[in-house]
């Protein structure tokens, strides 16, 4: 059976594409799937740092495309997870060295080699984006509950749909307190505007910063809300699409429940 290539994209930068790619990839690999994550941000790679593999990079995706090495030579095995591989980006080239046709050829090879291939798409909608989505079968659009992020995600969704790729939505960095106060868009607002299937909600979590800086896996940390959310997203992608989406807003403490019953709180 051929593997699936999923592109993780957003339009806007800094919304958590790389973290999402690393965490969902790790979670899929933990469920005994052979997974590769590919950094498509040629010239500005950082997925290797997030995964703590920067010291092991020898070859990169540009080398694979140009035939300077084999796919297996460029794929770096993760330190802790057996079936998890990274194909890093080139730091010295620019995005124009690759073409969408190149990526489609490599895509066929990747599908044979792996069950899941997650492509970390660069921000923007230029060449890097075109290259990343060329070989993709599916797309995951990462969006934070900000007006600017929603607008960029909307633009990207339009481009993906025009290439017959049906994207799924991941709402990242939800802060339930701010949503409750009305200072932040709720995930319902975001879904209403973007009108695509929601694959998961990820709460704002300080552990993300810690794991990114130390190169450890978020999904292996026991007390990370974001890690748990990424694990559930991986489960939805891996044959359990009906797994209920946990709404961070619905999580309430004992005192809140009591005061609600007493009529002190709505």
């Amino acid at each position: 059976m051929e593997g699936r290539i999923i592109v993780v994209t957003s339009g806007k930068g800094g919304v958590g594409k790389t973290t999402a790619t690393a965490s969902i990839g790790a979670a899929l690999a933990l469920s005994d799937r052979r997974v590769a994550v590919i950094d498509m941000d040629i010239g500005l790679r950082n997925l290797d740092v997030v995964l703590g593999l920067e010291s092991r990079v020898v070859f990169n995706i540009v080398d694979v495309v140009k035939g300077r090495c084999k796919l297996r030579q460029a794929a770096i095995r993760d330190k802790k997870i057996e079936n998890f591989f990274l194909i890093p980006a080139s730091q010295s080239d620019n995005k124009d060295v690759l073409t969408p046709e190149d990526m489609m050829k490599v895509g066929q090879e990747l599908r044979k080699e792996f069950d899941f291939v997650l492509m970390d798409c660069p921000a923007g909608i230029e060449r890097g984006f075109e290259n990343a989505i060329a070989a993709a079968d599916e797309a995951l659009v990462v969006c934070t509950p900000d007006v600017s992020s929603v607008r960029d995600a909307d633009r990207v969704i339009g481009l993906l749909l025009s290439r017959s790729i049906m994207p799924k939505l991941l709402v990242n960095r939800v802060i339930p307190k701010m949503v409750g106060r009305g200072d932040m868009l709720s995930h319902q607002d975001v879904v209403e505007v973007l009108s695509i299937d929601l694959v998961g909600l990820v709460e704002m979590d300080d552990q993300v910063v810690v794991s990114t800086n130390t190169g450890t896996h978020l999904v292996l940390q026991s007390n990370s809300k974001a890690g748990e959310a990424f694990q559930r997203i991986a489960m939805r992608l891996n044959g359990q699409p009906d797994l209920p989406i946990e709404d961070p807003m619905a999580r309430k403490g004992l005192w809140k429940s009591i005061s609600k019953k007493l009529g002190l709180r709505k």
Binding site: D154, R155, I157, G158, V193, L194, S195
Partner: protein
Amino acid sequence: MTEETIIERKSTRKQQTSCVSLKRVGESLWVSFDPSQPRRLLEDELARLFGRMKHLVFQSRVILDPETAQSDENLIDSLGAFLKETFGVGFVSGPPQKRSVEEELRRRQAVAFSWRHQRSDVLMLTGRVRSGQKVSAKNHFVLMGDLNPGGEVVAGGDVLVMGSMLGTVAAGQPDKEDAIILALDFRPTQIKIGGYVARGIANSPGTVGEFAFVENNSITVANYLKVNPFGRLPWPEVR
């Protein structure tokens, strides 16, 4: 007969034919005459024209049109009586009152059911216009769906969005200032009607259809059902 006499007779006939003329308009006979001519001459000329038609004028409807702004009722009555007595015409009247241009236009449109043969150049789409997408319509534009923030619509006529309008809308481009912009959920980023531009409004009731139109050199937004801008038109019109 000399050549001079022939010319004289021709000119006399020309004078006679010019004071009364007859044509068929629908089921009626429309008689135009020159009221400045003597009554006797008019009667002779009528007799000549109606005499030729013989039984065809019996019980027919005749309209006497003096072709001047001030119609002479007495003259029409006396000529009518003459025609009734001599040729047995059924009904004689003066010309119908002229309608105002606007009224006549509306009447004609209503009578002709103008929309039946109207070739529509309305662009009607379903779905969602997303950020970065731009839809241009030559004339009116109807969207059954939503216009997202960052999406853009430009139309030569009206813009109707049967859903949420959150993007940028330009109606009546380039200079049709009677165009309207209507949405069920009216929260656009910016709107433009003809040459007028307005900022979007952050808050909208969201549950009532609102529309924007140009009034007193500025764009006004109002509840569509309350204002009902086209409800008072007497007939359906092509827009």
